[in-house]
């Protein structure tokens, strides 16, 4: 899908909202007021619009960053699997030196750019699969809500362990399957937030979301 085509569909099917953990950021999302929210998946003009929702793990990281601006001051940030872009936007809002929003789905990068414009913020984007990369140019890595499946969580975690020796790794997650006790033992809890009601409705079974860093 090209940016122009995406933009018109994006404007049609999303609504700007501040009903989430980071009301400082205005984000265009597929909200409960949008017909698509309750439509069957096969009626969506987008293939798997993961960027259309503000995932609880992403909300936790963005909230944490906005509350602890010092932690990213002068840092170069990489937001992996950026989705709607909120993590990257939060870092940009507290004046990180460089922010790159990364997602293998081009639509997520378009959505991130459009959401950045909405907030007068500037972020770079990259669609390269960076998992396994040494990410030398970055000081901090954000991983919002990516511990869903076991195989992917394994791959991700090994990589993050390596990265954590040299840089800050922030993991946002509401307690998904891949965040096992074994992995939690290698992590340190930084913050826990109660999810807003609308977020609970999009994430049946979850009520809280958390931010972790890796123990070094």
């Amino acid at each position: 899908m090209l940016l122009k085509e995406f933009t018109s569909l994006f404007l049609k099917h999303t609504k700007p909202t501040r009903s989430h953990l980071t009301p400082e950021l205005l984000l265009r999302l597929i909200t409960a007021d949008c017909p698509l929210w309750s439509a069957p998946a096969n009626q969506s003009p987008f293939k798997d619009p993961f960027w259309g929702f503000y995932w609880p793990g992403g909300q936790a990281i963005a909230r944490y960053i906005l509350d602890s601006a010092d932690s990213v001051n002068n840092c170069k940030i990489l937001d992996v699997g950026c989705g709607c872009g909120a993590g990257a936007l939060a870092a940009a809002k507290v004046n990180a030196k460089l922010v790159v929003a990364n997602d293998i789905d081009l639509c997520a990068l378009y959505a991130t750019k459009l959401n950045a414009d909405l907030n007068d913020l500037r972020v770079e984007t990259s669609s390269v699969n960076l998992i396994g990369n040494d990410c030398n140019e970055f000081d901090a890595i954000f991983i919002g809500d990516m511990f869903y499946d076991e195989d992917f969580a394994n791959l991700l975690f090994d990589w993050l362990i390596k990265l954590s020796k040299k840089k800050m790794v922030l993991i946002g997650d509401p307690g998904r399957h891949g965040l096992t006790d074994r992995r939690r033992n290698q992590m340190r809890l930084l913050a826990q937030y109660e999810m807003p009601k609308v977020t609970c409705k999009e994430n049946n079974g979850f009520t809280h979301t958390t931010v972790w860093t890796l123990k070094t």
Partner: protein, 253 residues
């Protein structure tokens, strides 16, 4: 906190008009809309609410059947189950599968997965057996709370309100236990797009019934499946007098 196992069955959708196969061996399922057994939806909803109340730690959805059972499991995941187990049963074997087999599978998985609570619908709307919860409890030697219309956590275990003839019965049970969900237990939520999408990312494990050591040989043979008798057509009478005389003729008055 408890780990909950929920059994879900894919059945012909409640709104579909059922047709009997010409050879009377069963009902027509090909090309017919299927969905999750409504009582199982209630079971999933209750398990997810237990998780939201922090009484349950994890909700595992299980379904037995051919590949299409995975659609039903995805619905359970979208409703809020954490992970799913698809017990593969091939088409021909599935046709003769009975509550005893399902109960043996659920009992084995309950032990393997170290669950504290099994919740199933009180019956499936296709065969109306109403046996799975009871047999599962018996096989595990766990207490059973069937036809539940309310489930509350108490210190020692659970307080369950049961729908019985002429009223309600309140029982206390320890856990582990098996619960079967009745109609009034809750109102299940719809699976919306954000949840359906998240469900795609949740883990689903496949396992064969024979790997669980369950023999699927049928214990009951279906002799014949018949349509209900067709209603006799009525007749229109011109006036009240004719109606009265007809009723007298028939010996009704």
């Amino acid at each position: 906190m408890a780990r909950v196992l929920v059994g879900v069955k894919r059945v012909i959708d409640y709104a579909v008009k059922i047709r009997v196969k010409p050879d009377k061996s069963g009902v027509v399922t090909d090309g017919v809309k299927h969905s999750m057994n409504p009582f199982d939806e209630i079971a999933v909803e209750e398990a997810v609410r237990l998780k939201e109340k922090k009484i349950a730690k994890e909700v595992i959805a299980v379904s037995c059947g051919p590949a299409q059972a995975q659609e039903t499991l995805r619905t359970a995941l979208a409703m809020g189950a954490d992970r799913a187990i698809h017990v593969e049963v091939s088409g021909p074997e599935y046709e003769t599968m009975q509550p005893l087999h399902v109960a043996k599978i659920l009992a084995k998985l309950s032990q393997d997965e170290k669950v504290d609570l099994v919740i199933v619908g009180k019956q499936a709307i296709d065969d109306d057996s109403n046996q799975t919860a009871q047999i599962t409890a018996a096989l595990l030697d766990w207490p059973q709370a069937t036809f539940a219309s309310k489930v509350e956590k108490t210190d020692a275990g659970l307080t369950v309100t049961r729908e019985i003839d002429g009223g309600l019965e309140v029982i206390k049970t320890k856990i582990p236990a098996v619960i079967s969900a009745d109609l009034r237990l809750n109102e299940p939520r719809y699976a919306t797009l954000p949840n359906i999408m998240k469900a795609k990312k949740k883990p689903m494990k496949k396992v064969a019934a024979k790997d669980l050591g369950v023999d699927l040989a049928p214990r009951i043979k279906i002799i014949s499946v018949e349509d209900p008798p067709v209603r006799q057509a009525g007749a229109v009478v011109p006036d009240v007098d004719t109606l009265v005389s007809k009723l007298k003729e028939g010996g009704h008055i």
